[in-house]
Symmetry: C3
Subunit: 247 residues, 3 copies
Amino acid sequence: MVRLVFPEAREWRYIIEGLAAIVEEASFVAAPEGLKLRALDPGRVAMVDLFMPPTVFEEYRVEAETKIGVSFDDLVDVMKRAKSGDRLVIEVSGNRLTITLAGKAERKFRLPLLDIAGQELPTPRLNFTAAAKMLSDTFRDALKDAELVAESVRFKAEDETLLMIARSDKGEVETRFSLSEGSLMEIDVKEPAEATYGIDFLDKIVSKAYRVSDIVTLRFATNMPLELTFDVAGGGTLKYLLAPRVE
Amino acid sequence: MVRLVFPEAREWRYIIEGLAAIVEEASFVAAPEGLKLRALDPGRVAMVDLFMPPTVFEEYRVEAETKIGVSFDDLVDVMKRAKSGDRLVIEVSGNRLTITLAGKAERKFRLPLLDIAGQELPTPRLNFTAAAKMLSDTFRDALKDAELVAESVRFKAEDETLLMIARSDKGEVETRFSLSEGSLMEIDVKEPAEATYGIDFLDKIVSKAYRVSDIVTLRFATNMPLELTFDVAGGGTLKYLLAPRVE
Amino acid sequence: MVRLVFPEAREWRYIIEGLAAIVEEASFVAAPEGLKLRALDPGRVAMVDLFMPPTVFEEYRVEAETKIGVSFDDLVDVMKRAKSGDRLVIEVSGNRLTITLAGKAERKFRLPLLDIAGQELPTPRLNFTAAAKMLSDTFRDALKDAELVAESVRFKAEDETLLMIARSDKGEVETRFSLSEGSLMEIDVKEPAEATYGIDFLDKIVSKAYRVSDIVTLRFATNMPLELTFDVAGGGTLKYLLAPRVE
């Protein structure tokens, strides 16, 4: 039996939409140490990794480790019905997931649990040589700019600047982030790094996850995956890992 | 000759949109005792009944009972042009309806009157055993919730609670309204009542009529029609009657 | 070499959208006396005429008269990326136009210059007998009203009123602008004037240009073109000339 209570259903809506950005069906794992979900997108280009410790919940009751298999389309539909101020109760019993949104009226949504095959994904070990922290909104804008001319964007980190460059026949878009001009909050370049990533995935992720956190941390290395981390208010992390494009 | 003046054109826009939710063409009747419209939707599943007494108008001049046949598509288009603060003047003379929206500039819309066949509908006599009053917005939300999983929704009134239950293969949505939790303003159950109604009509009606009044009164009885009443500010009523679905 | 700096990129966005309302490709001319663009729409029904003197720019460096040929579709896409508070830098060097939007992050958009054929258009000499000044918003609303029933609208100026009349089988819409009721700011009728113009062009122009200026000046004469003037804040003018429709 699982029973999780979260004071603000809206925040969960944004987390669920952040997960739905890349996965269609996946299983949460409710374990004594927290609620987890790690999954790949169907094309295996991106991975999402959510961890929510018991402390972020108002009530966290997990008697035994439980898999909660869901369709993210359905879950997003339900979570979109959350109104500001609604409390969220997530319950699993038998083969059924019950989501209660309690505001003025109490609304119970009952969904069948899905049985989703697939083994657990290992924690990736990666050596990132560059890291930068900025407002999620600033990053989101830069992606929309780049999208005007191209489908992929090259990231270059060097000293105290991060460059994003998109280029095609249509033209070229170059965005420069720096500590000095205030577009970066932190930057740490152990070794200059350069890699290219698809804008479609970046945009899908960031256009949802920016609502989970105002701040995003980027980590990457030359021709290696890009990690995007969004911290959930009150504890918890929503992380994405995106494979580079080989040019 | 008919001349009606109403101080806030916007309110009329919402009333007209409320009528247009179920009727395509119909005749208003301007009579000395007030302006009336009673009409069925083309499929004869729902009836709408508007009554606006002379007192809600700034000026109400009706020399003889006059039929005003209109296409609601056209009327909605005109009323959507009303800006906040515009006065509304409705005039009928000869075979022409003139709607004047007077704000900064004075705009006159002249439409041909339609000759709409059909006898007058009698006032339905129904014995409702349950009645509940709530915010229109709360009701509207509950319909949108139910829509996620089903096309019809079962209403159950018992003691001091009203339940709305929608169910299909996709899952189940249950909304509980009660006096104690503040989601109902009044409830009066003479006899427990249970009936099912189509969500499409409920949604069409409520998504427009909630702007006419913040409050809606529901009345129904087991396997009988559902009556929804929206009071117009300053007097006047917009009522709907919706046939039950037999399961 | 051309380098123009403008403090508020958003204002340029509106000007560019105002030009794009009727032209697809055209050349700006950067000359010592200012930045100019005069072009016809592809169907040669409307002309647009922009003039921005050096004084409206923060920096205006034009070494020799330079043609800047652009696709307005592309330019609108870039300018839509401007955020409130962004500075705008326009640079031409070699065969490339560089647009820099500098806010938190600095974004450079580089577009190839287009080589656009066509001789310079002469300044039209017209004798307007009627002129009226009003809020662009009021004019825009009147066009939307007229659009409900017709594709063209007749303008009539007489004494101190301007009438706009649209008429079809669907009905009739008449808007009366006057000094006395406050819908006109100025009117000057040397000789009564009457002419008909297509609503599609008027609407395309005004729905964009109303953001360039709160105020529009209309000038016309019987069966002659209509001139619409929008003054750009700080100097500069965006003018349109629209051919009349013969009834």
